[in-house]
Amino acid sequence: MDENVEYYRQMLLIRLFEQRVEQLFTEGVIRGTMHPCTGQEAVAVGVMAALSPSDYITSTHRGHGHFLARGGDPRLMMAELFGKKTGYSGGRGGSQLMGDYSLGFLGGNGITGGSIPVATGVGLSLKRRQQDAVAVCFFGDGASNQGTFHESLNMAGLWDLPVLYVCENNAYAMSTPVHQALSIENVADRAGAYGFPGVSVDGNDVSAVRKAVVEARARACRGKGPSLIECKTYRLSGHSRGDQRRYRSAEEEQKAWQQDPIRRFREKLESEGFMDPDGTDQLQHEVQQQLEQAEQFARESSFPDPDDLEKGLYATDQL
């Protein structure tokens, strides 16, 4: 199978996962909150396509896509969302806090900008090991205004750390348009302040994203240090469940839907002959089935035992 078809499958998986999860929230089946990455699938898939198994990833509050693209198991993710014992964090973390260290996926983060220093530290450690590995740090346009961004990029630039700072500029931080929070045009243009390259790419184009990350990764592995990669995309969904999106117009959203990375990619693949409509439908069906199984797994799993609430805080007291 062509790798592009695999990318398409992953993007579809992410899209349908998020839609189903939003639905389950609306129905009250899942509690808490979640931040769908609808519209941003090409970033997650494009980045992961460029990485090796030895790499590390830190994610954000909007991390389901990153995790799925890195190989996260939809069943365990769904179970986590359901608050079940079989979930990635045994139900303790919920949407924002799940990870799988065996995949190098260090998890999402509830603190905007909170994972930027952590990824930087992973890079610091990797550099000393002189391995062929990088740390990849996802964060949003909004997060780029946190102090941790500055401190981290300065350290990474100073010490030539193998860290790829991947900014998903999805046009908003919650309700705040990028340019009501960012004092310059592009996040990528801030890389100059740290002495390493920054690029802006079309975040709705999986190949463009992949290419930029491949280059940055190679550079880092040659000991040349970090890169900042800004992926310009658009959050097609609300910020989190319940977001009425009063801060933007229907027209704006309609225009954005025309850039829907999944439709764009399907059209491209079909027009270039990599897929045909039957194949696409078949793929969609398979993904849907996978998600149904994931949901069933989550539904049938049991809740954690409340008596275990106090376990597992320290290594000496394992859950």
Binding site: S89, R92, I111, M174, P306, L309, E310
Partner: protein, 333 residues
């Protein structure tokens, strides 16, 4: 008096103070068009404009610091942090700048700053969106800490906080936002109508058998527990601390002197919480009035889990309060 919700009460306080004093303005993430994550500031930007209801970048540390600067220049900024969990990013500015200015620089350095932020669990928001960190700030001399439990107190104390010449932390519990209750009306002719002084606890319910001490979200559970206890002829007195710093030790002690028995209910993890301070103050001052040891009911010492079954076990509730109170009374007698 009108019945409105706790969040409406807060919005009313903000509205009235924004109208009353031109120097008052709001800063925070998504407080304008979005109206804040919990809708508290919804609509305010329409009346007061983006200059006085300012959306900020996601930069909690500098937002706090900028508010301090504006306050020193004579403004009265009211900052919203979206969740109290994020206040750690502004901890330095609150601890090392705001709290120390007047003590060090004297009367010239007035820092009339309010930080509003939602606290607490109950909504399955998980480890980084459920914390109640009041204990940190009660331990910072120079900051005042308010944690109201009713719409009336929320409105009245927020108005007081905005007018206060010193930095105030105003804690709003997420599970209270929809709570209904009466509030004081604004009065054109009486600027101080409904204003409450800081630092006075409230007897939420009178009783003589046991004192239950609570604040913020736990007050409601304590009141429900008291109702339940009444069925078994136990008259519990509920003391709502309201202001945690400065702390109204007098009201607290008066109640315990009467009942001889006290249970402190705290939502934050047990160790190092404000409950310990309250317990210590009672022991120090009226040890001889105690018929039973002071007890604390609190969340266990772990992060707030997201799963509903775990979160439910985590946070003290009416039933647990009743249970412990009964146990105490049985032992005490």
């Amino acid at each position: 008096m009108r019945q409105i919700s706790y969040s409406d009460a807060i919005r009313e306080a903000l509205t009235e103070e924004l109208r009353r004093d031109e120097d008052v303005f709001l800063m925070g993430e998504d407080i304008g068009a979005y109206g804040g994550a919990f809708g508290v500031t919804r609509g305010l930007i329409d009346e007061f404009g983006a200059e006085r209801v300012m959306d900020t970048p996601i930069s909690e540390g500098t937002t706090a610091g900028a508010a301090i600067g504006a306050a020193l220049e004579g403004r009265r900024p009211v900052v919203e942090f979206m969740f109290m969990d994020f206040i750690a990013l502004a901890a330095d500015q609150l601890l090392n700048q705001a709290a120390k200015l007047r003590y060090v620089f004297g009367e010239q350095a007035s820092c009339p700053l309010v930080i509003r932020t939602p606290t607490g669990g109950g909504r399955c928001y998980g480890p980084t969106h459920s914390q109640s960190l009041e204990a940190w700030f009660v331990h910072v001399p120079g900051l005042k800490v308010i944690a109201p439990a009713t719409p009336y107190d929320a409105k009245s104390l927020l108005k007081t906080a905005v007018r206060d010449p010193d930095p105030v932390l105003f804690l709003e519990h997420k599970m209270l936002y929809k709570q209904q209750g009466q509030v004081a009306d604004d009065d054109e002719h009486d600027d101080c109508r409904g204003i409450l002084p800081l630092g006075e606890a409230r007897i939420a319910r009178e009783g003589q058998d046991i004192t239950i001490v609570a604040w913020s979200g736990m007050t409601r559970e304590a009141e429900k527990a008291a109702e339940e206890l009444e069925k078994s002829d136990v008259e519990a007195e509920v003391v709502d601390m309201r202001t945690l710093s400065p702390m109204d030790t007098e009201t607290l002690l008066a109640s315990v002197r009467k009942t001889g028995c006290v249970l402190i209910v705290q939502e934050a993890p047990r160790t190092g919480g404000v409950g310990g301070e309250i317990s210590a103050r009672i022991s120090e001052n009226i040890y001889e009035y105690l018929d039973a040891p002071v007890r604390r009911l609190a969340s266990p010492d772990v992060p707030f889990p997201a799963s509903p079954v775990l979160e439910e076990r985590m946070i003290p509730d009416k039933n647990r309060i009743v249970e412990v109170a009964v146990e105490m009374l049985e032992e005490g007698i």
